[in-house]
Amino acid sequence: MQDVTITINGDIVTGTIDERTLLLDFIRDVAGKTGTHNGCLEARCGCCSVEVEGDIVKSCNVLALQVAGRSVTTIEGLSKERLRPVEHVTSQSLAGMYAPLEAMGADVNDLHPVQVAFHQCHALQCGFCTPGMVMVMKNYLEENPEPTRDDVRTAIAGNLCRCTGYQHIVDAGMMAAETMRSQPDNSRPAPARPAHDH
């Protein structure tokens, strides 16, 4: 057993772990962020993709020890703002003028453009592959702001989806790229917070 500290979405997280612990399990069990999913444990499906200081890694294929002291961003790190309370809707109707994000007390700006595009393009069905898919897409589009559809396909070739046939995911990638080009300042690095006890 060994003490390991990793910064996850700006939070400093320390845990005493079995040396065999995967980064995936550290994120899920020590930091308690279960949005990063275990789909195969052999670095094939991409459901566990996270960012380690700007690089995408499949967290099932990395030991937590290997990223000790470094900074990791997971799906939960993309939309921290959304965690504010949901406004309760009472008697005023929105039928016929449907605006789901607004109705949820959220704002389009609370979500990353990739998340917004996935919602609008119906790029997720069961949603299990979505966190990994979104992390990969975000990372790719930050470095490649003007991709073709084939570029987007290649970018997500390491992420499996069994539901969508990928068509709407590629649509979402193109839509997100456009949004990100028009709002170059959408990266909001989260401030570091005091360490939690884990």
């Binding site: 444990l41 052999e42 700006n109 709407h168």
Partner: protein, 849 residues
């Protein structure tokens, strides 16, 4: 901080939501990582179980010893098959009104497939559980394994399932299927062209990315077993689990977490659910048991493989007059659904042609392979793969185009509903228009006139059922309970698990339209067997049509209640009232009226304002069972309430150097009736295509001679990636609203899969001159076939049947005849008479010992 803009009070009548691409309610939790799938649930004191699985496919179990494993650090309990004999009830396959008790938590006397459960341990952590598995000692006596279903029914083959007497089967034939429509002999005699071919299909996994798994949590004081399970059907899990454990059904509570897809592979109970339950009952602690990817490939069920000796008979003008088939249906070592897959797939797979003469014999066969199960398409892709290729072969002999022969035959009645000879009642369809649209959009005429070398076009048409009334499953019901909450919001309770289909959105659209309540005010409760109304679960493309109808009925009942109260309070005539914008109002005064929360408040807290004697309830429940038929003795019957049409056209390019086959364009034209949410339905079709494409071009279970599954990993199980896929932007909906379903909708989930392997196969033939008779069509097979075709100097060629070393039968005369033992000659007419007997005729059975 961004402020949500002030909301205006909407006036006038709100637009209807059914028919609009409303973005899904489900998305936010899934997009932000807050959704809880099975592996994300943590309960206090939870411990981890792991299963030891057999490394051989067929063996006698001499002994399984868990004693050393029990001494390992952190280990709390262990068990194997012998420990449970006489303590839990077997469960099993569905077979012509009977359940066969061939499923047990662990192999006891015999291992039947690679990956079958042998023992399990539970420990404080996953690592400790895995360490302990290695200390379980297993002594097996290996037997010859049967991978090939034809080998499994050959004379002298060893018996796989021992100790079970099948009523209609024999040896490794677990059950038999037959269809007798019209007179096939006359059809053959009078046909101008008969085309024949032996076709085989592959095993395919659902491979839902969210793993199969559960958490069992037994409370020893109340005796309640709570099980969180990633399943498609809560009541199937509850009823079977309660029966296996011999517990009252209201003491078994099944709760659904977020379910990350299933495609049919989670539409049954699995041994791991029983194992986790028993561990939890023995320990009094929550037990986590989530399968690994390898375990899911091995035991999570796979598509049933088939061998089909299929024949199609046609008149000179192209009219299809007969279809004959002998099918060997490989359903693996055991299979809850395998039998039904053959019945449903073959019955519905006859469509969209009203074929007058049909003779089918099917042997449902056990092999030492992964259990067969439900998988998107449910037998229809296999049937269409054979039949739609025969249609192209007949067209070639008759000098007709692939479009002409199909145009001549697709069901196109003058009057609906129309009953086909097979018994399908087609209540509406635009399949002819879909066919024309798909051919036009792919450029069929243009390509036929000016073909490009190594590029080909293929067509295929199919229809998909929207029901699950099976020969062994005489029900097709779903239910919804709606509750108007005291603030005017609405909660939907249903037991049909949403796992990607968007039930919350789809049902909310229906409720919003009927009750005039805001879409954002409607919530779908997670299925929970303690408080969800009884329904079958989510499979068979029933969501929109069957569950949606139950939801509409419940909403109409609730609407009736609310209108009655409002009429009383407003002292108005009920006929003058409307519901919209969260209000009930007098039609000519749309900006006035009573808010739903006021009406709810009256029912809940101010009951003296209710009409005299009015029951103060805010709930309405409806169960919808479709007007479908059971299968008749001749195999005919209308098994589906309505049929969704699919006409697909593929354009493929074959690289003769590498054998690589690329789908460069793909057109899907569908009739899904009234589409509730076009974007969601488009997504269903695209996903359905992916599964069909995987089946056509790469996905397969590879076994060695000893029955070991060699590719239980995404490393070498070739699930399509984004770069493998064509652009799927040529989608057309030509709706023919269902006349039977009140809202007009038809099932969308599986109609995108049915035609894909056949359309690709036909296109590959058109491109390369090679008629592939076995799936999947891989680059290796393509290279072999091209080389052999060239060596023999042929322009067209069937593969693998035209290979010199092909040892299978080549002509009809050599084809195997189904084994006509006595059970097949069972007198069905007298069987019907027995069914008709009154119970009194059987005497008083109550006093029987």
């Amino acid at each position: 901080m961004t402020q949500a803009p002030a909301r205006p009070v909407a006036s006038g009548v709100a637009a209807k939501l059914v028919g609009q691409s409303v973005p899904r309610k489900e998305d936010l939790a899934l997009l932000t990582g807050t959704a809880r799938f099975i592996d994300d649930i943590r309960l206090p004191g939870m411990v981890y179980a792991k299963i030891l699985r057999s490394e051989v496919a067929h063996a006698r179990v001499r002994s399984v010893d868990t004693s050393t494993a029990l001494t390992m650090p952190g280990v709390l309990d262990a068990m194997c098959g012998a420990d449970l004999v006489g303590k839990v009830k077997p469960w099993g396959d569905l077979m012509q009104d009977l359940l066969v008790g061939d499923h047990t938590p662990f192999a006891v006397d015999k291992v039947l497939y690679h990956g079958q459960e042998l023992a399990a341990v539970v420990a404080s952590s996953r690592y400790e559980a895995l360490d302990a598995l290695e200390k379980i000692e297993v002594d097996l006596d290996q037997l010859k394994a049967y991978v090939d279903p034809e080998e499994a029914i050959a004379p002298g083959a060893g018996l796989i399932q021992e100790g079970i007497t099948y009523e209609f089967g024999d040896g490794n034939i677990f059950d038999r299927y037959k269809v007798r429509i019209g007179d096939i002999d006359v059809a053959e005699e009078e046909a101008d062209v008969v085309v024949r071919q032996r076709f085989t299909t592959n095993r395919q996994a659902g491979a839902a990315l969210d793993p199969h798994g559960c958490i069992a949590d037994f409370d020893s004081f109340t005796g309640v077993l709570t099980i969180y399970s990633s399943t498609q059907s809560i009541y199937m899990v509850r009823d079977v689990l309660a029966d296996v454990l011999q517990m009252p059904r209201n003491k078994v509570r099944v709760i659904i977490p977020e379910v990350g897809a299933g495609f049919g592979s989670k539409a049954q109970i699995f041994p791991y659910e029983v194992i986790a339950a028993i561990f939890s009952m023995r320990l009094g602690r929550p037990v986590h048991l989530v399968l690994t990817r390898k375990e899911i490939f091995q035991s999570g069920t796979a598509r049933n493989g088939q061998v089909r000796y299929a024949e199609l008979m046609c008149k000179r003008d192209g009219t299809i007059t007969g279809y004959r088939d002998y099918i060997i249906h490989n359903t693996g070592a055991m299979s809850v659904w395998g039998n039904q897959v053959l019945h449903i797939g073959t019955n519905v797979g006859m469509l969209p042609y009203p074929i007058p003469n049909i003779r089918v014999d099917g042997d449902i066969v056990h092999t030492n392979t992964t259990p067969g199960g439900a998988l998107r398409g449910f037998g229809i892709p296999q049937m269409i793969w054979a039949k739609e290729q025969l249609v192209d072969m007949a067209a070639a002999e008759l000098g007709l185009s692939a479009l002409e022969i199909r145009s001549r035959n697709v069901v196109r009645p003058e009057v609906f509903p129309f009953r086909t000879p097979m018994g399908h009642v087609i209540d509406s369809t635009t399949i002819y228009d879909c066919l024309q649209k798909s051919a036009e959009a792919i450029g069929f005429e243009e390509h036929t006139a000016h073909p490009t070398p190594y590029e080909g076009i293929g067509l295929a048409v199919s229809m998909k059922y929207t029901s699950c009334r099976h020969p062994s499953f005489d029900t097709d019901q779903s239910a919804v309970r709606l509750r108007l909450e005291t603030d005017g919001t609405v909660t939907i309770y249903s037991s049909d698990v949403t796992h990607g289909q968007g039930h919350a959105t789809m049902l909310s659209q229906i409720v919003a339209d009927v009750l005039g309540v805001g879409f954002e005010k409607i919530t779908l409760a997670q299925p929970d067997s303690l408080n969800s109304p009884f329904g079958l679960g989510t499979y068979a493309s029933r969501g929109a049509a069957v569950l949606g109808t139950a939801c509409r009925m419940a909403a109409e009942r609730l609407r009736e209640r609310l209108l009655t109260i409002a009429a009383h309070v407003l002292d108005a005539d009920i006929a003058s009232l409307e519901m919209s914008n969260d209000r009930v109002y007098i039609a000519r005064l749309p900006d006035s009226g009573l808010y739903l929360e006021i009406l709810a408040g009256i029912v809940a807290y101010r009951t003296h304002q209710l009409p005299p004697g009015f029951e103060p309830s805010l709930e309405a429940t409806a169960t919808y069972d479709t007007p479908t038929e059971r299968e008749g003795a001749d195999g005919s019957g209308n098994l589906s309430v309505t049929y969704s049409g699919a006409a697909h056209a593929a354009r493929v390019r074959v690289d003769p150097e590498t054998g690589l086959i690329r789908i460069v364009d793909y057109v899907m034209a569908h009739d899904t009736g009234v589409v509730i949410n076009p974007l969601v339905v488009e997504g269903q079709h695209q996903g359905g295509f992916l599964m069909g494409m995987g089946m056509a071009l790469g996905e397969d279970y590879l076994y060695d001679d000893e029955g070991r599954l060699l590719n239980a990993s995404f490393k070498n199980y070739l699930a399509p990636t984004a770069t493998d896929m064509p652009e799927l932007d040529h989608n057309f909906e030509i709706p023919a609203p269902s006349l039977t379903i009140p809202g007009g909708q038809k099932g969308a989930g599986e109609s995108g899969t049915g035609p894909v392997p056949a359309a690709v196969g036909n296109a590959v033939f058109n491109a390369s001159g090679v008629r592939f008779t076995s799936l999947p069509i891989t680059p290796e097979k393509m290279l072999l076939a091209l080389r052999e075709k060239e060596r023999q100097g042929l322009s067209v060629f069937r593969f693998p049947d035209d290979m010199p070393d092909f040892t299978g039968p080549r002509t009809h005369a050599e084809w195997p005849e189904p084994d006509l033992s006595e059970s097949v000659d069972f007198d069905w007419d007298s069987f019907d008479e027995i069914e008709d007997l009154e119970l009194d005729d059987l005497g008083d059975v109550d006093g029987a010992p």
